[in-house]
Symmetry: D2
Subunit: 101 residues, 4 copies
């Protein structure tokens, strides 16, 4: 199962990179396959371990901020793993070349 | 905590209202305050009970379909409850009149 | 075409209902069928009129705030109209009763 | 302005990589800075050029499928450019090391 998420405080200072840094550490500590991009993070795992991770990140921000918003997208395909890179490779196969990623 | 979600199968028939109906029943059975609209459902509760509900709905579809996508948005504000109607009322107070909802 | 969106400033005060009120006025002035709920607004129209409306709302916030985030979901089904209420009615038909909305 | 989006047909075959391939070509032809990941594509530009691109991709699918869903997230920060890589670098600076991306 692939899960993409982003979480941030409402009503904090405009720059969020310090807060995001703390969240990156939590994601890395999860040991789950992941990829961080400019609009969120993609993680692969099963439902419970993914949601435990998102909860930890969300609650880390809620320790410091009284209002936090989190956005999640899930793509769950039976029997499919290694999809953080696999979905891109599948597209590259169709195109017959590499793409920018 | 407010959570909005929508879940649907990829690769099924185009019309999803039958599948959605089964999910509505699960949401109603949760006993949580909720509001169903044309693009998803809003539910109020704490993290664990909300995520258990979303998981049940997602997995209900996964019983029948091999690929399911779910989209979630969370607005978590300390000490705030009754917000499914409260957020709308707060806007109406600012406007000095009722809005279409 | 159904479009759901929400837009808010990052780094402003925690309470957003005043800002949201201004956006509600823009939505109402569009004349498009719409429904406001606790997590966003659903509007029905064609691509260009919907996106013009979202842009106006987003830019209204950008006049006052230097960072604004907007989230959009589109459900575009050929030949289908009246879907803000129609999708709910289709579910109610399957259930054989009314639902909370 | 950063925009992340994903678009796919409802009711098509489960595997979407061929359809996605066509969309990748449209994104590349836009000439806008972009990064493709497993859950969507991030593009940088101004509102009108970004939305023209998303419309082209969405409508490409609508040529072949009668129902298409598109999800968009926008992060618009005054005067900020080069953010597809810049946001990641800002986090790496806080962490004092590189992250997986």
């Amino acid at each position: 199962m692939l899960l993409e998420f982003s979480t941030f405080p409402i009503g904090s200072s405009e720059s969020l990179s310090k807060d995001v840094s703390e969240i990156i550490r939590i994601i890395e500590d999860s040991g789950l396959p992941h990829r961080i991009h400019a609009m969120g993070t993609i993680v692969e795992g099963d439902w419970d371990e993914l949601m435990e991770l998102v909860k930890k990140c969300h609650m880390k921000l809620r320790e410091r901020f009284s209002r936090v918003t989190t956005r999640i997208a899930i793509d769950d395909r039976e029997g499919a793993t290694g999809r953080i890179e696999g979905k891109i490779k599948s597209i590259e196969k169709h195109l017959g070349r590499e793409i920018k990623k």
